[in-house]
């Protein structure tokens, strides 16, 4: 037991460096060595973050219920707006990608038909579509959805294709030997066998969608976390920029953790999982 550090020791190690850096940062900022416009003290960022998150109307039980009031601040609205865009754009991009990926993986004909076009389009970063997206869809949610779905599309597509193409031939033989064919073979063998790849694609796709939503909000929309930190820059509110960035980080972490939990559950049969 001596060699295994206790939980408290591990916690101590984990927070040692962050606490030291925060203390250093706080000191430098308070001494005026760094301009607060460049790097405001962490305490200022923290209070700004609270201010950004808290409701600004006083609580009135007659007008609204507590939960609605509690989340009436600017931050919850921004986080919700960004999340909805990620979710919507992701669905628009991932579902067709999944269907096309399954078809391309299963049929050599469809693969040969689509693959050259996809190889040409795939290296174009979704962000490069911004000018075209604004020309086509104007400003607001439509170009944002377009860009986000584009970001989610390719990771899901590519992973689904390789998932289907990497299905162990032996499993297909075994299933055919047991009488499976056609859509039964596809739904009960190929799809689940490809699932580890597909889920990896979905996870990467959500990650890209989350990057793209911030960029899209900086350019095409006037709500959401991406919009908010750009707006803060115009007022030189560096504390709010950092508070917004932290929020983006937390939201990203939440989304990724949720995806990871779902993967873990769906792949509990997989040898990589315990």
């Amino acid at each position: 037991m001596k060699n295994r550090p206790s939980f408290l020791t591990k916690l101590l190690y984990a927070i040692l460096l962050p606490v030291f850096l925060l203390a250093l940062w706080e000191t430098l900022a308070r001494q005026g060595i760094i301009s607060p416009h460049i790097l405001p003290a962490p305490s200022r960022v923290f209070f700004r973050w609270i201010d950004y998150a808290r409701p600004h109307e006083p609580y009135d039980a007659g007008k609204t219920n507590f939960i609605a009031w509690f989340f009436s601040g600017e931050l919850p609205h921004d986080a919700l707006a960004s999340s909805m865009r990620v979710l919507g754009g992701f669905a628009i991009g991932a579902i067709p990608a999944l269907v096309l990926g399954l078809l391309m993986g299963a049929s050599t004909f469809i693969y040969r038909l689509f693959n050259p076009l996809i190889q040409i389009l795939r290296p174009i970063p979704p962000i490069a579509y911004i000018p075209l997206a604004i020309l086509w869809f104007g400003l607001g949610n439509p170009p944002a959805f377009f860009l986000i779905s584009l970001g989610a599309f390719f990771p899901v597509l590519m992973n689904t294709i390789s998932g289907v193409r990497h299905v162990d031939r032996l499993l297909i033989r075994a299933a055919r030997n047991l009488g499976a064919n056609g859509h039964t073979l596809f739904l009960r063998i190929i799809l689940p066998a490809a699932m580890p790849y597909i889920l990896t694609g979905l996870r990467v796709g959500v990650g890209v969608a989350f990057i793209v939503v911030i960029v899209a909000e900086m350019i095409a929309v006037n709500s959401g976390l991406g919009y908010r930190i750009l707006e803060a820059r115009e007022f030189l509110w560096s504390d709010k920029i950092i508070a917004g960035m932290i929020t983006i980080g937390l939201l990203g972490l939440t989304i990724d953790t949720a995806m990871s939990r779902i993967n873990h559950h769906l792949l509990r049969w997989h040898s990589g999982h315990e």
């Binding site: 055919r176 066998a193 049969w269």
Partner: protein
């Protein structure tokens, strides 16, 4: 217990007629099987024995319908083989269990394909789980099973469909020696209880004598039938009995002749042993 003498009174289960199988890769052609003629009778335990590259798996795949012969015909259960089917249940060396299904789900799979009522499926699965001593593993995933357990599940999955015959492609090749012997005894028990015809491919000489009514020794490339050796020993067979040992000597010399040809060809043209790999690519 000695079934070899009763062969003539039984009906043929598999008839292999003038079967040739040629794999081509680029400009090279490999004759995997040449002029194979073999009749396997109902209830018989036939072991196909030979060194690697002799086409024994190719022959099994032709019976299973995974890879049809280039010429000649294979009849199984009275019909010409054209496709894989559940009447010729296959057990693979690599188990080929569906990893996302539990033990019970794996065994139920073929029955669900047949769209049997849920209750019937449950009963059949429970019976097989009991008979193969898998009951306590029913809700486990394959990744949590040992090799021997996995192969029991694979056998149960095939038995669930009650096929008249089982095709087994080096099923115990990946097991350790003790587990292998346990599984061989288990298989003989199953063979007697379920009255299946078994066609079993191996390169294990002792294994072939331990299990078979007849051992079909194959030649190395082109794969032909070198000799058919009946094993007229009572079961359970004593591997240390003089009769067993003399059979083992006889079969060893037959197989070693082929093994030497394989070695010599390897020395002349290393990496020429491509038929197994090619087959995997060409089989659907």
């Amino acid at each position: 217990m000695n079934d070899a003498k009763n062969i003539l009174s039984r009906s043929p289960q598999v008839i292999i007629k003038n079967v040739d199988k040629v794999f081509s890769s680029g400009d090279k052609e490999v004759i995997a099987l040449k002029e194979i003629n073999l009749t396997i009778y109902s209830g018989e335990f036939v072991v196909i024995l030979g060194p690697s590259g002799c086409g024994k798996s190719t022959l099994l795949n032709a019976i299973a319908g995974f890879s049809l012969p280039t010429s000649g015909k294979v009849y199984a259960n009275g019909e010409e083989v054209a496709l894989p089917g559940p009447d010729r249940g296959m057990v693979f060396q690599e188990y080929a269990l569906f990893p996302w299904m539990t033990v019970a789900e794996n065994i139920a799979f073929g029955l669900e394909i047949k769209k049997l009522p849920k209750q019937t499926i449950r009963e059949k699965v429970d019976t097989l789980l009991t008979k193969l001593q898998l009951l306590e593993f029913r809700d486990r995933f394959p990744k949590d099973l040992s090799g021997g357990m996995k192969q029991r599940v694979a056998i149960a999955r095939v038995l669930a469909l009650d096929p008249p015959m089982m095709l087994m492609d080096e099923p115990f090749g990946a097991l350790d020696a003790l587990t292998r012997r346990t599984m061989q005894d288990e298989l003989l028990r199953i063979w007697l209880e379920f009255k299946k015809t078994i066609i079993f491919v191996t390169h294990g000489i002792e294994e072939s004598i331990y299990l078979a009514d007849r051992v079909v020794v194959m030649t190395y490339r082109p794969g032909t039938i070198k000799q058919i050796v009946p094993v007229e020993l009572y079961r359970p067979r004593d591997v240390s009995s003089p009769q067993f040992i003399s059979l083992q000597k006889e079969l060893t010399s037959l197989v070693m002749e082929e093994q030497m040809r394989f070695r010599n060809e390897e020395m002349r043209e290393p990496g020429r042993d491509v038929s197994e790999r090619e087959e995997n690519e060409q089989v659907t």
